[in-house]
Amino acid sequence: MINALRRRLNIPPREEWRDRIYEIVDNRVRIITAGLNLKELRAIMRGDPPTEKPNPRYKVITTSFVAHLRPRYYQQASTWFTHTFRLGWFTTFFFIVETITGVILMFYYIPFPDQAYESILEIESNVFFGELLRDLHRLGAEGMVIFSWLHLFRTYFTGSYKGPRSFTWLTGVLLLIITLGLSFTGYLLPWDQLAYWAVTVGSSITEDAPFIGPQLNILLRGAPDIGAGGLLRFYLGHVILLPLLAIIFISIHYYKVSREHSISLPAVVDEDVLPKEDRKENTRRIDLIPDLLTHELFLTSLGVFAMIVILYFRWFHSPLETHTNPQQTPLDTLAPWYFYFLQGMLKIDPATILETMFGWVGVQVELSRLLNSKFIMGLVVPPGMVILLMAIPYIDRNPSRLARNRPFAIAWGIAWIFILVALSFMGTPQYGIETPAATRIIQDLGPEEGQGPIREIPYQELIAGVGIYEVGHDYGEELCPDLVYQPNAEEDVDNIVIGCPHLTAVFEEYSERLLEAEENGLLPEMHATFSVEEFQHNVIRVEPHVNWIDAESGLPKDYSRHYYLHEDRSQDE
C-alpha cells in the first residue's frame, strides 16, 4: 500500500533519494545565485576554472540586480595594492557600515531638543550594545571622511581624473561634499556642548553672505539660532536627504567605473614604461567571481575586525559632553577636525593682509569695511576651492598620467596638502586666540568640557588631599605622604599607589605655570591657591583661585573655577 502511495505522489524509491535531494538543492542554489550551481560554487571556493561553458560566472552580473553594478573583471595592474590602496572600496565599506548602524540608532534617537541628549544617554546606558553601536557609527564616520580624502588624493596623484574619467571625478568631488555634509549634520545630533557650538560656529558663516545672508541662515537652521527647527533639519538632512543623494551619486560614480572606463591602469603600465612582455600579465583579467568578490569579502572581514578591535581596546570612543547650553560658549570651542582648515581660514583676514601689502608700497587704505573677511573666507573661498577641484580635469590638458610627465600637477597637489594641513593647525584653538594667562592655565588643567588633569585625579587622592594649598609654598615631594591606596581594588589587587601622585602633579603644574607667568610679567604680584574640600559625603570640590594686579590698570583681578568631583564618576570620557 505504501508503494502505491509513493507511486501516486511521484516519490522515488529510497536508493534514489540522495540524488534527488541533491538535484533539488542544486536547482534552488542555481536559481538563488543567478546561475551558479553547487559544483560551480565549489570550484569558485577552490579557485578552480569554471565547470561549464558558457562561463556562468559572467551571467550573474547581467541577470542579478544585486550584482548589476559590478564589473565583469578588472585588469590585473588596476588591482595592484599600491595603485588604489583600496581607498575607494573602504569609503563605500564605511558608508554601508554607517547606513546599517545608523538605521539601528534611528530606533533609539529622538530628534527634539528636550529629548535628544537624553536619548543618547539611553542608548549608552540602557540599550544592549548601545555604546558599541554609537562608537561604530562615529568611528565609521571618521573613517569615511578620512578615506574619501585619501581616495581623492590618490586619484589626483595617479592622474585618474583625465579623459573619460572627468565626469566620474566630478561626481567624486560631489560625494566628498556630501560626505562632509553627512558628517557635519550628524555632528549636531547628540545635542551636547561639543555638538551645539561646533555646528553653531560652522553654520554662522552663512549669516554674512550679502543680501541673502539672513535667509540662508534661516534656511539652514530653521530659525536665527539653532533650536528645535535646526535640530530637526539637520536630522532629516542626515538620515534621508544626504543619504539619498549619496546613494544616487555613488551609483553614478561606480556605474561609470564598472561599465565605462574601469579602474585606471597604473600610468607605468598604460603608457608603456614597463617592458612590453609584461603587458599581457598586467592586463590579465581578474574576474569578479571568484577573485574580486572573495577579495572584497576578505576586506570586509578585515574592516569589521579592525573596527571592533579599535573599539574593544577603547582606542577610539565617541565623546559626550554636557547638555547643550545656548547661554554658555565653552572656551576652546572646536570645529570637527575635518573642518579645522575652514576654521583656520576664518582666522585669516584678507582685509588686513591687503592693507599691509598696500602699506608696503606706501598706499594707505582701509578695506575692512569693504571686505567682509568672514564672508570671503567662509562663503567665497571654500566654494571656489570646490569649483577649482571639479575643474581640474578640464584645466589639466596634459594627456599623460605619468608622474614624471606632470611635475607641475604633482607639485601643486603636494602644495595643497601642505596648505590644508597648515590651515588645520591654524584652526585649532591654541592658534591665534589670546587667552589670559590665568584662564589658560586653569582651563588646561580643568577644561570646561572634557576630562583634563584635575578630573582625572582619583577620588582616594582627593579625599586624602583635602586642604588649601598655596602656590609658592614648599609642600615637599608629595602632598599626601601617608596615603597608600589601591586604584583598582576589584581587578588588580597588586596595584598599590603610595601618596597622591596625580594631585601632586596637578598642583605642581599649576604652581610652575603660574610662577612662570608671573616671571614673564603676565600676572604681576600673583597670589594663588588650590583648595580641595569635601563638599558632600562623596563629592569633593576643587577650586584653583588666582589673584593678581592687572598690569595696565593697576587694579586687583582674580580668576577661579570650581570643580565638583563625585566618587563614582567615570575615570575616562
Binding site: 528636550d114 544592549f128 569579502l297 563638599f535 563625585h566 567615570s570
Partner: protein
C-alpha cells in the same frame, strides 16, 4: 594555496575573532550598562552642584546651609526628615524639590522665618514658565540636594570647614568673612565679593557713611545694621532687610563688619 583560498581562510579567521571579541563584549555589557548608569548619576550630581552654585547660592548659601531670615537650609535634618510632612506633600522629597524649583514661590510658606527675595519669595526657575533652567538642570539640582542626605540624617559626619588662609584676628578680614556668613552677600553688591540687588550697592559706603546723617560713619553703619528701617536709602523699601541682626550677630562680628564696611571706599 591559491589566493582565493588564502583569502577565504584569512577572512574566516578574522570573522571568528570578531565574533569572539563581540561575545566577550556581550558578556561584559550588562556590567557596563550598570556602571554607566552609576557614572551618569555621579555626573548628574556634579552638574547639579554647578547649577546650584550659579543660581542658588545667593539665597540658600554657598553650602546649602541657608541664610537666616532669607532662605532655609537644604541640608539639615529637618529638611530631610520633616519638610514634606510639614507641607503635606504626597510624593518624594526629590519630587518636592523639583516642583518648588520649577514653579518657585510667590509667597514664603514661613514668612516669619524666611522672607525670601521679595516678590516672588523664590523665583520661578523652569523654562516652561519663563525661567532660565531646563528640565534636566532642575532634575540635576534636585539630585545634588538629595545627595546631602548622608550628612542630614547623620550617617556621615559633616566635614570640618577648611581653615581659611586669612588671619581672622584682623577685624577687616573677619568682617569680610562675616559679610558672607551672615548673608549680606545675598542682597548687597560689593565689587569682587557679591552681586545682590535687593539692597543698595555697598561700594563706597565707607566714604558715604559719614555724610548720610548726623551720626558718624561708624554709628550710621551700626544703626543701619541693627535697625534697618531708621535710615532708608532712596528707591528701597522698609521691612525687607532682616531686623534680627542685633540678636544673631555677636559684638565682635558687628564691630568687624563695620570695620570692613569702612574700608569700602
Amino acid at each position: 594555496m591559491k589566493r582565493v583560498q588564502r583569502e577565504i581562510l584569512a577572512g574566516t579567521i578574522l570573522v571568528i575573532l570578531s565574533v569572539v571579541i563581540v561575545l566577550i563584549m556581550g558578556f561584559r555589557e550588562q556590567n557596563r550598562l550598570e556602571e554607566y548608569v552609576e557614572f551618569q548619576g555621579a555626573a548628574k550630581i556634579e552638574f547639579g552642584a554647578a547649577v546650584y552654585e550659579t543660581n542658588c547660592t545667593s539665597c540658600h548659601g554657598p553650602t546649602a546651609d541657608g541664610i537666616p531670615g532669607l532662605a532655609p537650609s537644604l541640608r539639615d535634618h529637618s529638611f530631610f526628615a520633616e519638610r514634606i510632612d510639614e507641607v503635606g506633600w504626597a510624593g518624594s522629597l526629590e519630587d518636592y524639590i523639583v516642583s518648588v524649583v520649577t514653579t518657585g514661590r510667590q509667597v514664603s510658606t514661613r514668612p516669619e522665618q524666611y522672607v525670601g527675595g521679595g516678590s516672588p519669595a523664590m523665583p520661578t526657575w523652569s523654562d516652561a514658565f519663563g525661567g532660565p533652567l531646563r528640565k534636566d538642570q532642575i532634575s540635576a539640582v534636585a539630585a545634588f540636594i538629595m545627595n546631602f542626605e548622608a550628612y542630614a540624617l547623620g550617617d556621615v559626619p559633616t566635614p570640618v570647614p577648611l581653615a581659611p588662609l586669612e588671619d581672622l584676628s584682623d577685624p577687616v578680614a573677619l568682617g569680610r568673612a562675616t559679610f558672607t556668613s551672615a548673608g549680606c552677600i545675598a542682597c548687597h553688591t560689593v565689587s569682587g565679593l557679591s552681586t545682590g540687588i535687593v539692597g543698595p550697592v555697598l561700594d563706597g559706603v565707607g566714604t558715604r557713611a559719614g555724610g548720610m546723617s548726623d551720626l558718624s560713619a561708624e554709628e550710621y553703619l551700626r544703626e543701619s545694621i541693627l535697625n534697618p528701617d531708621v535710615f532708608m536709602v532712596e528707591d528701597f523699601s522698609e521691612g525687607i532687610m532682616p531686623q534680627t541682626f542685633g540678636d544673631t550677630l555677636s559684638e565682635e562680628q558687628l564691630d568687624s563688619l563695620i570695620a570692613f564696611l569702612l574700608t569700602l571706599e
